[in-house]
Amino acid sequence: MNWTAFTPTTALVGGALIGLAVSLFFVLTGRVAGISGIVGGLLSPKPGDFAWRLAFVAGLLVVGVVAALVAPEMVTASATRGPVAMAVAGVVVGYGTRLGNGCTSGHGVCGISRLSIRSLVATGTFMATGILTVTIVRLAFGGAL
């Protein structure tokens, strides 16, 4: 265990804010706030189904700009993963989240909160392959790729 890196308070409070955000979205729109699904819908726009997706993404981007000014240490690039690994990671995440209908938000938070069996299986699966991937990168490449 790495106790010096352990940040339980901000993790719990940040998580609670995420829970509030998806709850707010649910009471307003009746929809699951899954980020990969919201972004994916921007790529095949349907009438009346575009502006809100753009607004959601704009909200995330605004936070990125503000965070870079007030808390740059919280929004960083990886020190160990290089450009090729990051580009490949992006493609795999993009394709995988569309194929599997969700990511950490849609399956991991929204789905598990309502005890969806599909989301429980998806979350168990992506946690397992994530752990496996990080372990392989550490063992085979010393953690840098």
């Binding site: 890196a5 909200g59 981007l61 599909r118």
Partner: protein
């Protein structure tokens, strides 16, 4: 609350559509603040969380899920007691319960990419605003991967 309910009447459909967009924007901001505060926008912290067997495991990000689910599991049930959401005629809760190969394969791929880069979609978009080249490459890849899926799979 009464005023919000009136938004559902057809005469107010434009107002409702605008409120929908504003609500989505506010959700994005709140969600983003949660992601940044939680540590999810630090790829090396994500990697430290997923690296359970390296001897220096940082379990913090597991608590992000705990916090988010604790809040939403309760509020989801409270909200569902309503007949409809505030800005739509009905709830759109996914109803599928089948475990198909696409679900498992897609989740497996997502986990591989998450472990490879230490970034999931939301934090990728947030981090890319710093214009760091690796995060821009991640988001470029993310969009390309989604486009590839849509080009090769009929909706």
């Amino acid at each position: 609350m009464k005023n919000l309910m009136n938004l559902l009447s057809p005469a107010n459909s434009t107002t409702r559509a605008r409120a929908f967009v504003v609500g989505a924007g506010v959700t994005g901001i709140l969600f983003g603040v949660g992601l940044v505060l939680s540590g999810m926008t630090k790829p090396d912290k994500v990697i430290g969380f997923l690296d359970m067997f390296g001897g220096a495991w940082d379990p913090s990000l597991g608590l992000v899920m705990v916090g988010a689910i604790a809040v939403h599991a309760v509020l989801f049930r409270v909200i569902l007691r309503r007949k409809s959401p505030l800005l739509d005629a009905k709830f759109h809760v996914p109803t599928r319960t089948d475990i198909d190969p696409r679900l498992v394969a897609g989740a497996a791929l997502f986990g591989i990419g998450w472990g490879l880069g230490g970034v999931c979609p939301g934090p990728g978009l947030i981090g890319a605003t710093s214009l760091a080249s690796t995060l821009l490459l991640f988001v470029g890849g993310l969009v390309a991967g989604m486009a590839l899926f849509q080009a090769t799979n009929k909706a």
